[in-house]
Symmetry: C3
Subunit: 472 residues, 3 copies
């Protein structure tokens, strides 16, 4: 390759020429529409401080667990990739050395979305002209580093450059939301909003649960010494998120049994947790109960409820002990929705103020459980293929498995879920291409008219994400 590195205009569209031509027409109609990014993992402080992002390794390598895990699977270790250690043992701190290691493993990413996204970031965002390799690593590094230092690449400026009209952060339930308040005061409140994430507050047998409850007391101003106080404190915090523009809650859980408990039983278990005597079974039952309570609160305050079960976090405890969570060792498992969600849906599945967005890492549930549930309960919407499934073939399979039962209008459109801020445009672009390809096949097979496909593509890109993530 001697011409400058460039991305093909029709990449990730179907290979067949008939379908490609239709897909291209559909894609062009949505390619430049603004981005709604409602499941982000960038810290609000990044936007509030609006300082330059840091070095290329810190921006592109270290926080991206997709990328880390692939290099680890082929023999690298996390410390030499610059992942901080918690026990004081050494780890690589030279960003250039880290970036070189990544570049040397570039071929490992063939066929993966990391490859696709990173190409987009390097070429489209940073204007890199030489394909990444061990040989070009330093040159590419320097080019990126120079841009990252420029004012044009500060966080708030990038919201414009990336055409992001609305971005959500994910925040602990006891977060004081000071950065959001500061952003709001400066006029960014309609563009950067918080998301209420209460997971560790609901897991009574979590290692640090008492610390979280103490923090909840402080944040809410309510002494969380009883189950009623606990509910009140959570409700208060949800209101605080609403006041800062929050539109949604976010629940990642391995518990998925939404059977409610009687108040007295819930209170008894909660007290046992405060006393340090709660059993694992009690904590499980309480966690399931609280999912339905969270749904109940959503019917009262209108926060959209996002639920994504099915991942066993920190599969190797030694890695967690050395490096902490979120470094690539979360592994999915089989998940059940039909019976698990029945108690919650019996209560609130038809409630006009509940919107419950479901995500899965278990593809088999698409046609078997999720599409049938979303295709009848008005409260339910299906989120986008997520995490390991946020990839071109997996996204296509998702549409193929879901649409025939749930249609398009019970889905949310694309929801990115990334710690890698610079990849947001790449991810949305890829999703638009995949949706265009799927719609184009329906047109090519005369199952849909072209004008309908274009209207549907617009809805998937704009209308559905916006309506899914509007407080009810």
């Amino acid at each position: 390759m001697t011409t400058p590195w460039s991305l093909h205009a029709e990449r990730a569209l179907p290979a067949d020429t008939t379908t490609r031509a239709i897909a291209t027409e559909i894609y062009r109609s949505i390619a430049d529409l603004p981005i709604t990014s409602m499941h982000g993992h960038v810290d609000a402080g990044v936007f509030d401080r609006d300082e330059p992002f840091g070095d290329p390794a810190e921006v592109l390598v270290t926080p991206d667990h997709y990328l880390l895990r692939m290099l680890v699977s082929q023999g690298a270790n996390l410390a030499e990739l610059g992942v901080r250690t918690l026990d004081g043992s050494p780890y690589e701190t030279d960003p250039r050395a880290i970036f070189r290691k990544f570049a040397a493993g570039w071929h490992l990413f063939r066929g993966t979305p990391t490859r696709y996204w990173m190409e987009h970031v390097l070429v489209e965002v940073f204007g890199v002209e030489k394909p990444l390799s061990a040989d070009t690593a330093d040159e590419v590094y320097d080019q990126i580093a120079a841009l990252l230092a420029s004012d044009a690449f500060r966080p708030l400026a990038l919201l414009d450059r990336f055409n992001i009209q609305l971005i959500a952060t994910t925040d602990g339930a006891a977060d004081p939301l000071a950065h959001h308040a500061s952003l709001r005061a400066r006029g960014w409140g309609d563009r950067i909003v918080p998301t209420f994430r209460p997971d560790p507050f609901l897991a009574l047998d979590g290692a640090h649960w008492r610390d979280h409850i103490d923090a909840l007391s402080v944040a809410s101003g309510i002494d969380v010494a009883s189950y009623p106080a606990y509910l009140s404190a959570l409700e208060q915090r949800r209101q605080a998120f609403v006041a800062m523009g929050g539109v949604a809650t976010d629940h990642g859980t391995t518990i998925l049994n939404t059977t409610p408990l009687a108040d007295a039983e819930a209170a008894r278990i909660f007290d046992a947790a405060l006393a340090g005597t709660v059993s694992a079974a009690e904590a499980q039952a309480f966690g399931g109960h609280m999912l339905t309570e969270m749904a109940r609160m959503s019917t009262e305050d209108g926060l959209v409820m996002q639920l994504h079960p099915g991942s066993l976090r920190n599969h190797d405890p030694a890695v967690q002990a050395l490096h902490g969570p979120d470094v690539g060792y979360d592994i999915p498992f089989a998940t059940e929705f039909t019976r698990a969600l029945q108690p919650l849906l019996m209560r609130f599945g038809h409630h006009p103020r509940l919107r419950l967005i479901l995500f899965t890492l278990d593809e088999d549930t698409y046609s078997r459980e999720l599409a049938p549930l979303a295709g009848v309960y008005p409260a339910v919407r299906l989120g986008a293929p997520w995490w390991f499934l946020d990839a071109p073939d997996a996204m296509r399979r998702g549409r193929e498995a879901v649409t025939e039962t749930a249609g398009f209008y019970n889905t949310t459109g694309f929801v990115d879920d990334t710690r890698a801020f610079f990849s947001i445009p790449a991810r949305h672009d890829l999703s638009r291409r995949v949706d265009s390809g799927y719609l184009a096949r329906l047109v090519a097979e005369h199952r849909l008219e072209l004008d309908e496909a274009i209207a549907t593509a617009y809805d998937l890109t704009v209308t559905l994400p916006q309506s899914a993530y509007t407080r009810t």
Copy 2:
């Protein structure tokens, strides 16, 4: 769109031009072959009375739970769609208003088989020339209503118009089959046959089990006061179905464990049920036992045994209480066949008179369990992708997952399963197109010769359904 609404001759065939051309040739060879419809849900009385079908809403909207559920998922309620209430609360009775609501939601069906089938019905059956929309709803309604009132659209006439050479109804085990007797007396006995469905008679802890047993006593003339009498009564009823031309039984169950009980234990549990003291676990064990008993009876009377587990019926009990069953609230769950069917297949899997047709709503079982079972046990045939899987992409996935292990000749060919009588030709046509597309790909990839593909398409359309549904 200003030209009359028309359906593309090559719709639902593969987009790729090479494969499309082959698929078209295969499809043309089977497009006009007669229909065998062996899993119907139209009441035999409809044919016996042979009166006009009713208004367009009653024919096309209200009985179609695929259609209802989509509109409900987007905020409609069943009462305003004309679904009768059981508590006396009001529901829409103006068919034109109901039809308008459906028409206004037409875009929701994009990408679904409902859209595909309904287009076929409107254009091919009723000759509608303007695409359905809120604007054209009344005009379309009038056109359909006029045709429905005509003699040419009476039920028996439609059997000819639709090219249906054989249709089965589904009938309770205690049904006196009076309509079938009447039809038979008038010479329709070779074309309209009953199917023996005993589910509520086998569920000892069902709410109305005693009523069913009473009805069974009446219908069979045998006082069902003991387990032996119960077996005799069921055998008697099966004979009555045989006498009316019946070829098959039909079993929808959440129980799927076919371990037989000792006679004494079965009798003990049956007596407990009569005494009102049966436990849920006993009822489960008995239900599984009776599946193997039903297989045993099939080896004696030759009735083909259809089994379709995997759906949790009436997921929202409040909806069932208000509107009854079959309005869209059945949700699939993960199903296991390998171990569950082992006891039954150990006994009868090689019996020359058992033909066991298996259906699933859990796609993962296709390649993992169903194709391996059908690919070795001579008694087993795989039914078509069913219910939520009766859709173009799901049917294609079904063939792809099954054929490499079970071939074509261990499948039944297409089996429709619809309450929407008018959609039968559309469903068979779609299935033929999908099979043609699948076969065409094998030809295009030089994995099959064209003449073999055409012969196989014929077998899938005629030979296999006919042989699968012939009493052994």
Copy 3:
């Protein structure tokens, strides 16, 4: 068809012309590369004796359970297909009659890999020019029989003809490896190697476990009268395999829980087994424990560990009683890896000397569990789609489900697993075509450059199998 039977050069490549052209280019670059066949089921004695293979039925029909099961599913019985009976009842012994039965059922294999492989064998290996049918059966039989009798078709000569550079046999843990020693002495030791398969030695409640332990004592020269002696004897046998060039162990199990036991508990259970008092639960726990022990031994002797759970063997016990195992009655079931392998991977998942190759018959685990595990643990590699999944569409689905998470470089490339020696070239050829087709689609969709695709195809064919099956 009046021209001689021939196989299309572009068979099993994608139908779409754009992708086909790219796939053809990729395929040509790897079509003639030598074969590494590391999971074989041909007896080492076949090579050691190097006598002619036998008659066409014995070579092509009787040992091939894929083929037998299809004919059985359509009404044949195993005895008339020449499968030996264990109770003295008659079975067909005329090879020509057996071959005729197979030929008469040729159409049943449409769409199956058996059809694809057999065509390859008949046309490419035996030069058959008339398509197989009942009419041509005898003529084809004679042609094959004549070639099988020739020196050019003796086993060792065929290794050259088939371009097999390395083939592994599968051998019981107590096998004295005399054939391997003999082959080694004659200079074949680098080309034909044993594989250590200890399954029946690890199943304490297996019917013949004591016999196996006795054999283990004899083979190892260690009196296996205690748990420590048992471990020593297994370690000794593994060393014997290493000495004969062995590179891998092979574990087929329904137990998949790798929780280790304390030594004292393992010893207690082992003693109970020797005393004949072990319970099923104890045997299960011990079996799981031994998987982790086998991994531990691999970290010490460097043998690659292959694990393929998920098949319920001998589903119909009556067939097993009459004909023995491996005649087609093994049926897969749902399998769990995430939690089951966690104990093993916590201990050895990062060990530089463990290489654990995982196979599955449950496709749902590809994207949900296997790709995430292989995509982070350096010890784990994914084997090829296996058994019922060793077929063109299933292999394509495998790549699609795995690559986006695990990439190409955490897979082993193709691993055949056949008792049908003559089909080895066909299977490798088909796999190369499917991989070429998958890579071509990535190129056509501009997700990969052509030069990268060609390099990856080479790695999948040569580098990855060789490195996966090199002792660490």
